[in-house]
Amino acid sequence: MTASHPSPFSAVTRRATLRAAGAGTALLGLGLAGCRSAVSSEGDPVPAGDAKPRRGGTLRIAIGNDFTPALLFAQSAQSLQQGLLFNTLTRYDDRLRPQPELAVSWTYPKDGRSITLKLREGVAFHDGRPFTADDVIFAVQNLQNPVRAAQLRATASAVTGFEKHGDHELTLRLTHPVANLFDLFEFMIITDRHTVADAVAGRKLNGTGPFRFVKWSPGTGLDLVRNDRYWRAGRPYLDAVELRVAGQADALVSSLRTGQSQLSFDVPGKSMALVKSTPSLKITDYSTGAGAYYVGVNTTVKPLDDKAVRQAIAWAVDRDRLLAQSLGGYGLASAAPWPRSSPAFTEARRTHYRHDPAKARELLRSAGHRSLKLPLLHSATPGDTSIAEAVQYDLAQVGIDVTLEPTDPATAQKKLISQSMPALWTLSHGFAQVHPSTLAVSAYPFNEAKNTSRFRSGTYTRIVKEAWTTPDDGPAGRARYARITEILLDEAFIIDLVVRGQVQVASERLRGVSLNKFSQARLDDAYLV
């Protein structure tokens, strides 16, 4: 190490430095000025009110997770593109009534052992091949294959016979009546049977939807263009849709704020304050109830084998605070899994467990416990960590000392499926947004035969099976849903916290976006003004 000394050199003078800096800046400025700009221009002022739909334009959607071709037939964190490239047979309205899509009408005999579908004529796949009844048969059989990991496989497997009546009429024969058949029709995308291997590899996605597949660049996203032979005349309005991956919340929000993208459904609750402060962005809460956060309880770990202790935990959690702090207020604090649109929803069940630490302490005392020490596993993502910390705080107030076990999502999933969770865990579940029986049949945490909590009950099994195999949404059906909910609330092996809102953040220039019950975006009527 030499001592610092005053330099005898004037090789780098102030004048030379300034000249070099000036020349560099000018060169960069001139270079960039001569280029096309990579920053989108906002253009004309946004028209007030409902502007007339306009053809053209490219919509850029910021997505938190890249498209995963292997999960094309499953409900995953990124199912947006399903509704852009493909159609389904029917589509639920806001009150869970099926509406025609590729099936224009249906006949459902009283015995519930078959359904006859009349299919839409004049529909073609993107490669020009006509859509026929064979494509529906393939779609059902495809979901019966376990490697497709379709959550509604149990319902698809109930279909055991297919009778074609020409190219556009078909009868599906069922081994037993199935209450959630239209959930299957809402969920099941109709894909080209000849290119399904290419589809699950991400090479070619051939559907009947409003947009055609151009390319998928892993890590970057999907490029889609308008399907000029779409069966809805004059639709879609948009020329192209680009889905762009921005895995980090800051990058995703910056992309929206700068106008680089115009739509996202993946803005985390904690970033919503920043979005709200951006006047050019609009927030829409769809309240589809496509997911819910819960605390799972391993009923074989002492003292959680005691129902009173589990109920004490349910009373101890402050769901409203958790909703406000961890999810930006978007969602529904609820002790039951159902969103407001579910036939199983009632306000009394939603508020069955309110925040009541005194009652929680009393229950613990009655079970012989003044204090407890329990581990709680959670996924080490920022959102899930925030929820786990909120639960930890609430349980500490009633004398339950919780040790958090942050775990990567893949490990958490493995433990969930292999029934090796610790005493407590917090994750999210799906499938409460559709027919109530689907939750108990297709969501593993609630499964009557085998679930992570290791909860078994003859009554629960019987009532779940009855609800699944009896297509009846009348008083008797509702009584069965009520019974399922009562068991869930009373046994508290899954303690629901918040039904998640499906929050859309969009540019004020975008109109006409909608979502189906499985969070598949519908852009048939979307346009940019």
Partner: protein, 314 residues
Amino acid sequence: MRSHLLRRLPSAALVLLLASFLVFAVLRLVPGDPATTLAGPDASEATVAAIRDRLGLDEPLPVQYAAWIGALVTGDLGPSYVIGGEVADLIGDGLGATVELTLGALLFALLLGGVLGILGATARRGWTRAAVRAVTAGALAVPPFVTGVLLVLLFSVTLGVLPPGGRVPLLTAPDLGVQYLLLPALCLALPSAAVLGRYLQEGLRQALAEDYVLTATAAGIAPRRLLWRHALPNALPPVVTLVGIQTGHLLGGAVLVEAIFAWPGLGQLAEQALNRRDYPVVQDLLLLLVAVFVVVQLLTDLAYAWLDPRIRWE
């Protein structure tokens, strides 16, 4: 030079072999596998078992290891289990993006480091030297995730002159590509620029204090010529070694910077593949990174030997 290279090749091969064992074993020791990721949180054990069977995860571990190494040797890396597409394509695309980012950052680091080093060693005024010290300390102290957010806030949100994230390949559209590259490359380059600047500054100070410099100054050789032709070449060898090390750091640092700027490089791919337990992608990727480090070290050794003849004859 050739014998110098040959002496180092066996140890490089051994490092790669040990790394392959380690990567394969560690990945299997971590709980979770591609089948559970694909099956999803609502799946049953039967679904997981069917997927495990399809992916060949039921085979004994030595068989799986041999299949992997065999595929590597033949150059057919096969399909990804979870992410989708061919592993070779995924890594090729990601590598292109990361190399582009790393080279951009390296260019920034060399330019900024050079300016800081030369200014710090030759500036006559105290405030210039103090300014150089402050910039260097700031670039070293502020982590890239803070620098990245600040750069996006200034250039994208406030000024609206550069995109906040994403990538257009430079070879596809150079005019757009360079705009996407500027912010992430600068963010990644700053700490390396500071390190290179400090080393260069110190090297130059030592070189400028040598007797031959005083003699040359007395002989009337122009200070600029003395700096560029005599002092700088003598100060460069340790800096060149450091450039090799910094290139490795830039590759490693790219993981974080890619996440901040949604840059679809190897870092993003590695994170995605690791979170989803996409064994083929993680294994090939980690082995590739080890190989890159090994090659960079070999090249650095060669450059050092080329610059300093004494090393060649050791």
